[in-house]
């Protein structure tokens, strides 16, 4: 697997620290792409956002997961089921 240029990783890492930027990015990613100096092939793959596109671009696996969350519009309903630990929390938290 090739590794994405650092500017791609920096885009994701910068957005993780910027809640306001995240909301803007989810609505329209183009300004952030421009601000980080991405080239067109990188933009195309990030607009696609699929696992295969992100893998082709060489996005770090942990940052792929975060990128997926950055694309979710603010206010979107949380995933059904109450989260990964919901079925176990009662017993995990039992003292």
């Amino acid at each position: 697997m090739s590794t994405a240029p650092y500017r791609v990783h920096k885009l994701i890492q910068d957005l993780m620290k910027d809640p306001a930027g995240q909301a803007a990015f989810a609505r329209d990613p183009e300004p952030a792409f421009e601000a980080h100096g991405l080239i067109e092939t990188e933009k195309v793959l990030l607009r696609d956002g699929s696992p295969s596109a992100l893998d082709r671009l060489g996005v770090h696996p942990n940052l792929q997961m975060k990128y997926g969350r950055l694309r979710i519009l603010p206010g979107s309903p949380p995933p059904a089921g109450g989260g990964p630990l919901a079925a176990y929390l009662g017993r995990l938290e039992e003292r």
Partner: protein
Amino acid sequence: MGKIVGGFATSHVLFPPNGVEDQAERVLAGMLRIREQIRALKPDLIVLAGADHLNNFNLAMQVTLAVGVADAFTTLGDSGAPVVTFRGHRPFAEGFVRHANRRDFELVQMEELRPDHGIAIPRLIVDPANEVPVVPVYINANMPVPPSPGRCYRLGGVLKEFVETGRPADERIVVVGTGGLSHWLCLPEQGKVADAFDRDFIARMVDGRSEELAALSAEDILEASGNGGLELTAWLFMAGAVPKARGEAIYYEPIPEWISGMGGLRLSPVD
């Protein structure tokens, strides 16, 4: 001198049981069995070793080995783990870092840290009542150049030496390595589980042969068990702290639906 009274390892995630109810139940039962065994050892402090998932560390500065030295930590709350504050242990953590420095390991001290699921879920497993201070040790296997298995194993040995020479008499320490087993996170192979590799890894560890596994290269483990399998370097850190120890496989379930081999074990230190 202090004493390491137990070594444990466990996967550090759980996912919804839908479709794999029986396996999920066995995984949870294994984790709770680890809890009971640790509780029975009455530790004064738990060292939890695992990877951060680019939440506290990132690619801007690629830290491979680090220790949480703060007095307390508040978890990040990712992957369904509740946000809780738990006690650290500054004298132990800073003392370990200084001792490691004398043994040619320059560990990064972390004051500001929001442990993600790699530490938060195991902490919930091993000490839900938050009764025992926890020192997080980061073995960041997901960095582009990860720490080698051998170096992680040797660092475990340095921890043992520190406990035995630098800690108060009768202090009881449990070491837990977290993460793994095989999984290919966000890679084309995602969903594959290296069942045979995982079972062999566990079998060799509980047979007192962890040093053989520490001789593998990071590339060997990556090839055989995926990028997530590299988290097994935290298991080897634990094993290095209890050299030659034998033990017991507590659980193993290959769960492609969870994209992971899930397992846990106990090693009993050799006196």
